[in-house]
Every structure is written in structure tokens, then in C-alpha cells.
């Protein structure tokens, strides 16, 4: 099986989620997974766009799928869970609704493109766990994370609404991958609860409460680090800890890492190449628990 995919980095890869993109590329190279970036990809539109300009959202997302198709029939891989959900939803609605597909192709034609609907959209976690496999990952682990307790935080949009590669309520893919690294996934019943998405900007109280629950549950179960697979989750859970502390009188200072960063550590990639210095909560305590 050739592990070759067209890669959709998403807009956060250029800003707040840079470390995710950097570590994903490094780790995939190390694992023999070939990510070919979709040339001149555009924003998937995320929730703001699809919720308000639905048809246009399907249109701009389909442009990415059309370009991916020009590259061959590789599966499309996204790292950001929001991008994954939007691209997959667009793809699914085009397949389910011929009239919509026709309309979207009419719009694509104006831009000199077309899309036949035959690609598959995947999340990077799905590719690593199901195409490469946890055994293959385990074989490549250079530093076993034996003493590390990890809260596997999936967030909402990787497994919902469809649960394509895992259970929509209680997924286990990330737990399995952590075990393959030698780490211990802790009991984390809030693993698919929402981080609040963009609410921190507009509905602060609601967003802070959601994050309080995520942080408290990680602490209660003894997690050394929370591992995420979405740049929005990462930003919320990590960067707003001081705001949560201020609001609720807590003292959280829990390191948060992308699963690709932790996987990189396990594979023996040096910290600098995993952009670990970009984290707001320092990850030294995590690295100190890992055998050299």
C-alpha cells in the first residue's frame, strides 16, 4: 500500500497552529507517509462560512477537492479537525445530492475546474492509525514514553458528525496510538466534549466553563499532558488556562501538545524540529519524564 496523500494544511497552519503543521510533516516523513500539499489551496471556510453561506462554502471547499483530484486519486488528508469536517461534509453532500453536485460543478467551471466527487477525505490520525497501523508505529519508536500519562483529547469534529474512522462518542484511535508510543492514555471521559471553538471571542463565560471541565478532568485523572488533534482545541485548552484560572480561582498549568508533536518525541525527532518552543505552557516537565 502506497502511503501517499494530498495534504490540506488549513489556515491555522500558517499562524496559531504552525506547530501542528511542522510536526505533522516531520513525523509523516519519518513514518514513510508522503504528504503532497494541495497547490494554492484555499480556506475551507470553517464553521463561520458554512453556517452562513452554505452554498458558497460547498463551492470554495470543492475547489480544494478539484485541485486535489488534478493531482491524482490520492485520499485528501487534513490535520485540522474543522477543515476535515467541512471538506468531508462537502464531499458527502455532493455525493448524496446530484442537484447540488451539478450546481457546484457549474460554479467550479467558471473557475476552470471540475470535481467528480470520487475522492475520500481523511484525518491524519485515521491515516496513521488505520493505513500505517499502530504496530508499524510501535516498531519505529525510539523513545518509549513509558512513564507518561496522557489525556487523549479528540474534540468534537474529528469523529462527528459521521464517525467515519472511529466512534463519534467514545473514539479510541488516539488512545491506541498513545499506547503504541508506550504512553499511558488516562481515563478521559470528556475526550469528545467541545472546547468552545470560536466562542472565547464572543461568549467568554460559556467558553471558559467548557475549558474548565476539560482541564479539571485531565488533572483529576493524573494526566501529565493533554494531547490534541485540532488547532482550535489546542489553542483553547492551552492558551486560555490563565483566563480559566482567573475566572475560577484554579491554578492550571497543564502542558498541551499536538499528537504529532508527542509522536515525534517518541520517534526520536529532536524538539526543535517539532516546534515544541511554540507552546505557551512549557513542555519541559513532559520531556523530563521521557527516557533520553
Amino acid at each position: 500500500m502506497s502511503l501517499r496523500y494530498s495534504y490540506f494544511p488549513g489556515c491555522s497552519a500558517e499562524a496559531t497552529g504552525k506547530a501542528y503543521d511542522i510536526s505533522a510533516r516531520v513525523v509523516c516523513k519519518k513514518l514513510g507517509i508522503d504528504l503532497v500539499e494541495i497547490p494554492d489551496w484555499n480556506c475551507c471556510g470553517a464553521t463561520s462560512y458554512i453556517s452562513i453561506r452554505e452554498l458558497e462554502s460547498f463551492g470554495v471547499s470543492a475547489r480544494n477537492l478539484a485541485i486535489a483530484q488534478e493531482m491524482g486519486d490520492m485520499d485528501v488528508v487534513a490535520t485540522c479537525s474543522a477543515c476535515y469536517t467541512i471538506l468531508a461534509k462537502t464531499n458527502r453532500y455532493l455525493a448524496e445530492d446530484d442537484a447540488l453536485h451539478e450546481t457546484i460543478n457549474e460554479a467550479l467551471a467558471a473557475a476552470g475546474r471540475s470535481y467528480d466527487g470520487s475522492l475520500t477525505v481523511r484525518h491524519l490520525l485515521d491515516v496513521i492509525v488505520n493505513d500505517l497501523g499502530c504496530e508499524a508505529v510501535s516498531d519505529k519508536v525510539a523513545r518509549r514514553l513509558t512513564k507518561l500519562k496522557v489525556a487523549p483529547y479528540y474534540g468534537c469534529q474529528a469523529s462527528r458528525p459521521k464517525g467515519t474512522f472511529d466512534d463519534p462518542e467514545f473514539p479510541v484511535s488516539l488512545d491506541r496510538l498513545l499506547e503504541a508510543m508506550g504512553a499511558e492514555p488516562v481515563y478521559y471521559p470528556v475526550k469528545t466534549k467541545c472546547c468552545g471553538g470560536m466562542l472565547m471571542m464572543t461568549e467568554e463565560e460559556a467558553a471558559l466553563r467548557l475549558n474548565l471541565e476539560l482541564l479539571q478532568c485531565a488533572r483529576d485523572n493524573g494526566a501529565d499532558v493533554i494531547v490534541t488533534m485540532c488547532p482550535l482545541c489546542e489553542m483553547n485548552v492551552e492558551a486560555y488556562q490563565s483566563m480559566v484560572n482567573k475566572r475560577f480561582g484554579t491554578d492550571f498549568n497543564i502542558p498541551v501538545m499536538y499528537f504529532t508533536q508527542l509522536l515525534g518525541v517518541a520517534l526520536g525527532v529532536e524538539s526543535k524540529r517539532l516546534a515544541l518552543d511554540k507552546q505557551i505552557v512549557p513542555v519541559d516537565k513532559v520531556l523530563a519524564k521521557v527516557p533520553a
Binding site: 484555499n42 480556506c43 458554512i50 463551492g59 471553538g197 464572543t202 460559556a206 467548557l210
Partner: protein, 194 residues
């Protein structure tokens, strides 16, 4: 500007809602709602909503969707899809929330202190202008025009993100901006023709 004042306006709102929701693949399942409340119980933000998701469907049946459209409810939906996944009738509750967001914008009807429509508008403009979301521009414009208090609150965090290279100051426009414009232009005519 469209108003939402007369009985006829409310009737029109219902008509558009029904047409659009039934247009979503599987959208007609809204008829099978048993008011069990699983959606509201699953929703992580329902305790902050004026009407929980179950009440949204109840309001639809009672012909009072205008109340929902005027409320904070739809703007608290984060698209986590918990309701959609758990609904025993298979109702796409998240998609219904999206449709109500569109109607709220069409009727320019949302609570006075609700800043979400403005935030969405800035993001939409970014996407259609650059082809990508420009996070710094989004945050700066939103803070300056809508919520100056955020400037103080996020100054420290913003600086830290900037220092670690997580906040590039310039947008990175795509080459195919004209393609985005053409796609959007075609689809805008489709919506009007609807």
C-alpha cells in the same frame, strides 16, 4: 432591509425555513422529532441558551421561530454535532442551527450584545478577499470594531503568540483569488433564484 415585524413576516420566515431545511439531505426528518430532549441534554452550551435545541423545534411547530431567530441560542452553537449524533430520529440539528443563523442574518435579527454575526462577517470577508482566513486581521478588526475590551484582555496572550511565531502579521493570499470570486459569484445567483 428585511423586517421581521408583521404576522406575514413570521409566516414567510417559516416558509423559507421549511423549504431550506427540507432541502438539506435528510432534512425532512425534523417532522419525526418526539421532543425527547436528548439534543438539549447533550448540548455543551444549552445552559447558556435562551432556547435549547429541543425548544427550537418546539418553537418551529408552534409557529414561533421568530423568537428563536431573535435569541442568543443559535450563536452559542459551536458545531460540535453532539445533538446530531445522538438524536434518535436522525435529525440534523446542527444544520438546523445553521439555517437559523442564515435566517437571522437575512432578517438582521439578533440580540443587541451578540457579536457573533459581526465576527462571522469579518471571517467571510477575509475568505472571499484573500482565499484564506487571516487570523491576525480577523482578531484585530473584530477587537477594534466590535469589542475593544478584548484588546486589553488578549494583549499579553497576543504578544506571546506573536513572539513564538504563531501570529504572522501579514495575510498570505492565494493565487486563485479570482477563482474564489467566480465560484462565489455563480453561487450567489443560485441562492437568489433559490
Amino acid at each position: 432591509m428585511v423586517e421581521l415585524e408583521t404576522t406575514q413576516d413570521v409566516k414567510d420566515l417559516h416558509k423559507i425555513f421549511v423549504e431550506d431545511v427540507y432541502g438539506i439531505p435528510g432534512g425532512d426528518k425534523i417532522r419525526q422529532c418526539q421532543q425527547c430532549g436528548t439534543c438539549s441534554g447533550s448540548c455543551p452550551t444549552s445552559s447558556f441558551m435562551e432556547y435549547g435545541p429541543r425548544e427550537v423545534i418546539a418553537a418551529f411547530r408552534a409557529g414561533e421561530l421568530d423568537k428563536v431567530v431573535r435569541s442568543n441560542t443559535i450563536w452559542l452553537c459551536t458545531s460540535c454535532y453532539s445533538c446530531t449524533v445522538r438524536c434518535p430520529a436522525g435529525i440534523k440539528v446542527t444544520d438546523i442551527m445553521y439555517e437559523l443563523k442564515r435566517l437571522a442574518i437575512k432578517y438582521k435579527s439578533w440580540p443587541k450584545d451578540c457579536k457573533n454575526p459581526a465576527l462571522s462577517k469579518i471571517m467571510i470577508d477575509n475568505i472571499e478577499k484573500y482565499g484564506r482566513n487571516y487570523e491576525v486581521g480577523l482578531l484585530a478588526k473584530f477587537t477594534m470594531t466590535q469589542k475593544p475590551s478584548l484588546g486589553v484582555k488578549f494583549a499579553g496572550l497576543g504578544t506571546r503568540l506573536f513572539m513564538s511565531g504563531r501570529m504572522p502579521l501579514r495575510p498570505n493570499p492565494i493565487k486563485g483569488r479570482d477563482e474564489i470570486a467566480k465560484i462565489v459569484a455563480v453561487l450567489e445567483t443560485k441562492e437568489v433564484a433559490g
